[in-house]
């Protein structure tokens, strides 16, 4: 008897196994309505609300397409996209960090929309840098969402107390940082993580010397590494920065542990909310040979699949100049379209005007299909000199070897 029972249990188990394998899928499209899913990684509540507002406006404006957005944390984002690719389970639109766009275009995730967007005259209105980050080998794989760049923030009270003036050159920056470093307060901070976020910050130093992200092992590249290494050796830049995200840097700044920081405009809404009494201002990042900043921001990438046309409908809707005006300031971004950016900021908004000025000097990263590997080599080199593992010359040599093997 017990054997029979066992047999029955086994059969049931096998059946469950097959049933489980057979489930899932089938959330089909009813009545010709197309469902478009967006993936994004903005963690700030304001960003999320603003995005959802654009989406609900679009959904109400027509009856054919229903758009919905899903939040994926930044740290998980690339992983989910990669897994989604091999499992053929991707959204229809990805709002992606612009340096990663080329990699995913090369992977074949994004649709080539060059032909489809040919007649969209608005394309001429986009700034070259952001638009180029959507391209690979001359083909268009997306539309810029909005841009930002880095600038120097400084604590006005600390600056006054130390009787220092806003630095404009590297030498001045080094001297002022040293002057502002007192006790637990450090002169300057910027995110120095060994990842894309770190590279984003490090490249401002590299580019200011006049060299490119692909040429580190030359006097200019070594100079930029040595400069950052000196800032750390002076004690002006805390070594902990190698574990700080840009959000961490901002929080160190508003809690008074940093007198100056390199950061982007998207921090401003939070800073005003959390530290309304803090006296701060922004300036161009001090220069070596030339002013330089890093172009940040996101693009809409259209996933290669069934819903390319429906997705483009939404993107065109979201990118109408008048609509961009309604949301771009809530993001703390600078519009990627000239016609919007020109009138984006009120005359008296000196801070955003400064960012708009810095934007002229902002360079895009890549675009290169293997940018993540190049970026890794650069951020690693800076981490090596900041922790004192390698000399600037050795770090540059090592990074160059990696970069050369990628771009050969």
């Amino acid at each position: 008897m017990s054997m029979k029972k066992n047999l029955i249990y086994s059969v049931i188990f096998v059946l469950i196994l097959f049933a489980a394998a057979g489930c899932s899928k089938t959330d089909g499209q009813k009545d010709g309505i197309k469902n478009v899913t967006i993936w994004y990684y903005w963690e700030t509540e304001k960003h999320q609300k603003t995005l959802n507002k654009i989406i609900s406006d679009f959904n109400e404006s027509q009856t054919q397409i229903v758009v919905k957005a899903e939040y994926i944390p930044f740290a998980e984002f690339k992983k989910q996209l990669s897994i989604g690719t091999s499992a053929a389970k991707l959204p229809d639109i990805v709002i992606i960090d612009n340096p990663d766009h080329a990699s995913y275009s090369a992977m074949g995730i994004f649709a080539d929309i060059t032909e489809k967007m040919k007649d969209w005259t608005d394309l001429n209105q986009y700034f070259e840098g952001p638009l180029n980050s959507c391209k690979l080998d001359g083909k268009l794989y997306g539309i810029p969402f909005g841009s930002n760049c880095l600038a120097l923030y400084y604590n006005e009270d600390m600056m006054k107390a130390a009787n220092a003036s806003v630095p404009q050159s590297w030498d001045e920056l080094r001297a002022v940082s040293k002057k502002l470093t007192k006790g637990s307060v450090k002169g300057l901070g910027f995110s120095s993580l060994p990842n894309e976020e770190g590279t984003f910050n490090f490249l401002t130093w590299v580019w200011s010397t006049g060299t490119s992200a692909f040429g580190i092992n030359n006097p200019e590249g070594i100079k930029s590494l040595a400069y950052v290494s000196d800032l750390v050796k002076d004690g002006s830049v805390p070594k902990e920065a190698i574990n700080w995200t840009q959000g961490d840097v901002m929080h160190q700044f508003i809690s008074g542990n940093l007198a100056m920081m390199i950061n982007g405009p998207w921090q401003i809404p939070t800073m005003r909310q959390e530290a309304p009494k803090l006296n701060w201002n922004v300036a161009l990042i001090p220069k070596d040979k030339q002013y330089a900043s890093d172009l940040g921001g996101e693009n809409f990438g259209v996933v290669n699949g069934q819903n390319v046309d429906a997705s483009l409908e939404f993107i065109k809707f979201a990118c109408e100049p008048d609509r961009i005006k309604t949301y771009i300031n809530d993001f703390g971004y600078i519009a990627s379209r000239k016609d919007v950016a020109e009138t984006q900021f009120a005359e008296d908004d000196k801070i955003m005007k400064l960012f708009a000025e810095e934007m002229q000097y902002a360079l895009p990263r890549g675009p290169h299909a293997k940018w993540p590997e190049i970026s890794n080599a650069i951020s690693l080199a800076f981490n090596e000199v900041m922790t004192g593992v390698s000399s600037p010359a050795d770090a540059a040599k090592k990074a160059q070897k990696t970069i050369d093997s990628i771009i050969k």
């Binding site: 086994s10 990669s82 992977m107 293997k370």
Partner: protein, 302 residues
């Protein structure tokens, strides 16, 4: 009815049917990923080729490239160093605690219960707490050491290449002690008291009793603890990922975190798979050792 079943099963090996569900499960959820990962590591799969139908077969050249790469060798060395040091201290301290609580004093049971807490906290939580504790400016460890005048300036535990590894090992020892203690404790309860009593009569001192009774009787338990501990420790991921993420400058990179980095931040999927396979092969060898010793151990303990 039962007789018929027995007859049939005797003839065609009916009993294998009972293994079928487990076998199917293992083949699908364990076998397939392993095989597929090995296949992946013999092909050139990166961002450029992930979606193309024909991926170039390149044999073992992924492995050759990796072994020429200093980071892989360092990850292997790190993983081994981490595992050996963790196991050594966890085992010795866990063993000592097990012996101590085996004395059956009035609070022995409840205190032993409290010592199990590190095992119950999710590792990511432990890792975050220790990350704060090891923080150079506000961490309690630096404050403690400074108050005791053991150090002059704050130590940058997680930011310096040498000390970051130490911090990881220290944390994991704390996590692993209860696991060792509880398994050894269980082993201790299986040793008959009579053995100690007769040894007493023969005039053995406590050290001799430990050496000639406790240790040999605990051999199976010790084997299990060491081998299971090795497997758990060798494949560490979450602790390192949260506390240092392999940094600073790859000095705490483990095989698991390096594999993750290659696959999911650098998009070198086949390299990531190759590193995962190296990890797998080492663990597989150790597991074979375990299988070889474990059954004998069970018989012995009975």
């Amino acid at each position: 009815m039962e007789k018929i079943f027995k007859k049939v099963s005797g003839k065609i090996g009916f009993e294998y049917l009972y293994v079928l569900p487990a076998l199917a499960y293992m083949l699908f959820f364990v076998g397939y990923p392993i095989v597929s990962n090995f296949i992946l590591s013999f092909h050139e799969v990166s961002v450029l080729t992930l979606n193309s139908p024909d991926k170039e077969f390149i044999g073992i050249s992924n492995y050759i490239t990796l072994f020429k790469d200093a980071v892989l060798l360092r990850s292997i060395w790190n993983t081994v160093l981490y595992t050996v040091l963790c196991i050594l201290f966890q085992f010795v301290i866990g063993f000592a605690l097990a012996l101590f609580f085996n004395k059956h004093f009035c609070t022995s049971k409840s205190v032993r219960g409290f010592l199990m807490i590190p095992l119950m906290i999710p590792i990511t939580v432990t890792a975050l707490i220790f990350k704060f504790m090891f923080s150079s400016n506000v961490g309690i460890i630096n404050q403690l050491l400074q108050t005791l005048n053991l150090i002059d300036a704050p130590v940058e535990w997680l930011i310096q290449p040498g000390t970051a590894m130490f911090a990881l090992i220290f944390t994991n020892i704390w996590i692993g002690i209860p696991f060792n203690m509880i398994l050894i404790s269980t082993g201790l309860t299986t040793i008959p008291v009579q053995l100690y009593e007769s040894a007493d009569i023969d005039g053995a001192n406590s050290f001799e009793r430990f050496l000639y009774i406790t240790l040999p009787m605990l051999k199976p338990a010790i084997q299990s603890v060491l081998i299971l501990g090795f497997i758990y420790t060798f494949k560490v991921f979450d602790l390192v990922y949260v506390m240092t993420n392999g940094g600073p400058v790859d000095t705490t990179q483990m095989l698991s975190t390096y594999s993750y980095k290659l696959s999911f931040s650098l998009f070198k999927y086949s390299h990531g798979a190759a590193v995962a396979n190296i990890l797998f092969v080492i663990l597989f060898a150790v597991s074979l050792l375990y299988l070889k010793y474990a059954p004998i151990g069970e018989e012995n303990s009975k």
